[in-house]
Every structure is written in C-alpha cells, then in structure tokens.
Symmetry: D2
Subunit: 152 residues, 4 copies
C-alpha cells in the first residue's frame, strides 16, 4: 500500500517542519496547511531554482499565478515534530498555464501527492498572459533535467 | 464559459462573507482558505443537517474524518466584500468513506467546484471504521432528497 | 477569578462558532485565530454598525487600518463546538487612530479581552490620514451610545 | 522614530521569509501571521536552544503552553519577499509561567516587538504545573547568557 518515492536528481526539494500550528485536535496536519506549504514551495522554486524572484513577479511585474485545477491524494498523515520533504516536478508547460506535481514525502514514502495547474495572468488586465520567454526557458530546462533520469 | 448553478431543493447551502483576511496581495481569495471554508461547511452539515454534532463526533466519540482525495476546479475568483454560497452534495457513500461535492457559487454562477473523499476513522485505533448506522441513514436520506430533483 | 461581562446595550456583538480548524492538538483555540476573529469583527462593525462598507474603504477608497498596538489577556480557553460572543467597544478616538476594546465572552464570563489601536492610512501614500468626518461622526455616536450605560 | 536593535550575543534568532500567503490586499503581512511566527519561534527555541523537544513536550509529556498575556507594538510593516529576523529573549521566569520578549527586526531596525506570557499546564489535568527542573535550568541559563551583554 505504501508508495516509495525518490526525487529525481536535481529536483527542487524543500523540508518543512510540522509545527503545533499545523495540527488539528486529531494531532495531524489540518489539510489546508498542505496547500499553503505547496504555494510556499512554488514561490521558492521560482526564486531559487528558476532565478525569477517571485515577489518581484507579483509586486514588480504585476503577474498573478492563480490555480485553475488542483487534485491531491492523501496517503499518510503527518504529525507535530516531523520533518517532511516537498518535491516539485513539472508536468506540462502550456502557453500561459503550468502543470506542476508536488510530492510530499518522508523516509522515502509518499505522504501526499498533488497535481496543480496554474495560469499566469496580468494583475492589471486580469487576463491570462503567455509565459515570458526567459521564464518559459527556465521552466523547460528544469523539466528536462529532472525528467531525464525517470525510467522510460 | 460561465457555468450556471442552482442548488437542488433541500440542498445544504451556507453563505460565506469574503473577508480581508481571506484575500492575498492580488486582492482575491488565497486558495487554501476555500478548503478551510469547505471543512467548515462539512462541520455545519453534520451538525445542522444530519443532526450529528460534529464536535461531539470528534471530541466525544473520538472519530476523525481525514480527507483521502480532493480535486477542485477554480472558475471565478472572489474578492473582499462579496458573499459566496457553498452547497454540499453527496456523491457516493462507501463503507467508511464518503464522496462529497461542494459547489461554491455566487449570482447563480459557479465560482469553484470541488469533489472530496473523506474516510471515517477512530482517533484511538487510527483505523477506518464503518459509518455508524444512524449517520449512514441520515446521509442516505440527504442524498436521496437532494438528488431527486436532478435531471435524469 | 472569573470575570463577568454583560455588553452595554447597543454594543456591537457577533457570535463565532469555534470550529475544528480553530483548534490545536491541545483541543483549544490556537490563539492567532482570535486575532483573525477580531479583524472580522472590526470589518463587520464598519460595514453593519457604522454603515461604512469595509471592503469599499479598502479597495475603493484605498484606506488601510494597520494595527499599531495590541494587548490581550487570555482567561478561559474555548473548544470546538462552543459558540463565543465578541463585543466591540470604542476606547479612544484620535486624529487618525482608533482605540478599540474587544471582549470575547461566553455564558456571561470573559474568555479573553483585547485592546487594539489601529491607524487609518492611505494605501497610496502609505501615510496616516485623519479619520474622514462622516466616519468619525459615526464612531463618536457609537461610542456615546454604548458607554452611556456604563457605571460612572 | 525608528528603533535600532542588535540581538545580544547568543540570543536565539531565526529568519522568516515573508511569503505571498502572509500578505493581505494592502500588500503587507496580515498581523495574525506574526503571532503564528512567534509560536514557531518559541517551538524552535525549546527544541534547538533549550534542547527540550517541543513536540515531545506536547504529545509525549502532555504539557501545554497557553498564552496568558500578549502585547505587541507594530512599527514597520513587512512585505512579500523580505526576510525578517525574530529574536527571543527571556524576561521573567515564574513558577509555571514564562515571560518572553520577541523582537522582529530587519536591517537592524525593529519591525515589531512583543511581550508574551505563557503558562505551563498539564493537558491531562488542565491545571498549571511548575516548570520541570531541567527545563527551568535551561531557561535560566539562556536568560543569563543573553542578558549578560545588555547595558546595565
């Protein structure tokens, strides 16, 4: 039943410490917090992996990245004091949309797994905008180097 | 593109006022808050529609209702000061699992739409438990009376 | 030790249902949620009591109401399933600042009690602005009618 | 008006990256998030500085650390993309209570400053308990080594 996971070499992975504030009266992470962690992971991926500062994209360039679709399977709950790992993989690069997979894992086992589609939009016009060339190139390069190692 | 929605007669619907605290620097609801609203809707549905007090189920009977699967399509963003409606429908009743659809709408248009599967578990044994008979009967009755009006 | 509280006649009071999502692994409200409740109370007070739509003040008029000072005494914890009452009283009206007291109570006993000072500012200039005349008048009238009944 | 701050040598300080999710439609941190950051800082201080694992104190030993009193002065707002520093200092060690000061700073200037009093309690009896000897000793040592350097 348990699903093993090893991030592909070069995949963007960040640790999150499960805190008191993440947990509910049942002692496990209250699930909306995972989505907040996912958003934080995506921010850091833009800034530190793609080298496009997320804050600048939002506040400077006035882009937004609203989610269009999310799906998530929850396998193993997480508890206060645990450290979990979040790995981001690119599934699909559209004209203005981006399909991302996030795997949350610990001790080599999948805790939860999400697929999320974001659209890039202008906060001024409220319309979708095509991914800027430099950003698209960076995302394509990330996708290429993190899927090369996947079995055919 | 816009999708109309009218809740079936008898469907459990609650209004939520979009607050300052729900909204992000782009001025729209930060998406994890929707999941928190959904959980609140489910709580109220148990307590006020099914007449099974949610707090008592958790703290008294020591049941938990973790999510197993969630999927969500986001159509129209919501902004501070708006009032949105959340309607809960039952899709599938399993042995210990429950498939729920939540439609978030305003002015007759779908804002977002989610499908969520929860499992009922014991907080003591950490194992799934079958839905108690009275609860199952109440859920079945709700499902019957809210789908009767749906077109064949 | 327990402190009784009856809101003055005419005081703005709202009920809040304590939810699963408010509570921590100790089964009581995780304290930052109280501050979120306070902000929601203040929003509703502007909109429904003072008849100055809070969303319009923020998004239309581009005012902000950042907190300058907060102090809070926690007396009795609250638990999932409880309904608590929040009452807002005006303590001091400055040129651009406002001193508010919020009493959170249940069954006539104080649960927690906060004093908060907000400043009114322009989101454009990032500078404090004097309270607009109509708003000031509404706040003064509220203060007058809710303190008249307090013992001298 | 601006207040300089340099943490005393040895003071426990952690950086927090201000995220999209921390910020409100005015583009600055929504204030309840600061209290959540403070709680996280306190957790890490117990675990990494005092060497008393916070998760174990809560879930293993069944202690709770509810806040009794909080006061906070907000000086400079923080925005998405900024990195702020949180420094924890001990103000007072009581029988079961603890007075903590948290200074949030950036670029040597105070952003906000809080004083918080927690009580240590048993989650079983719901009563205050005296600080365990080893924990008290660790807190006293921390207080001693971080105030030695303060000007007389």
């Amino acid at each position: 039943m348990s699903e093993h996971f090893t991030p592909p070499p070069g995949a963007f992975t960040r640790s999150v410490a499960i805190r008191f504030s993440h947990c509910d009266p049942a002692g496990i992470v209250y699930f909306p917090h995972y989505f907040d962690m996912f958003n934080g992971l995506i921010e850091d991926w833009y800034t530190y992996e793609l080298k496009h500062d997320y804050a600048e994209l939002i506040m400077g360039d006035r882009f937004g990245f609203p989610f269009v679709h999310i799906e998530c399977d929850f396998k193993i709950p997480s508890r206060i004091g645990e450290i979990i790992e979040l790995t981001l993989l690119v599934e699909r690069i559209g004209r203005s949309s981006l399909g991302i997979a996030i795997v949350c894992h610990g001790d080599g086992l999948v805790r939860l797994r999400a697929r999320m589609v974001t659209a890039m939009m202008s906060l001024e016009t409220k319309k979708p905008v095509p991914l800027p060339h430099a950003l698209r190139t960076a995302i394509e390069a990330y996708q290429a180097r993190t899927t090369a190692a996947l079995p055919a």
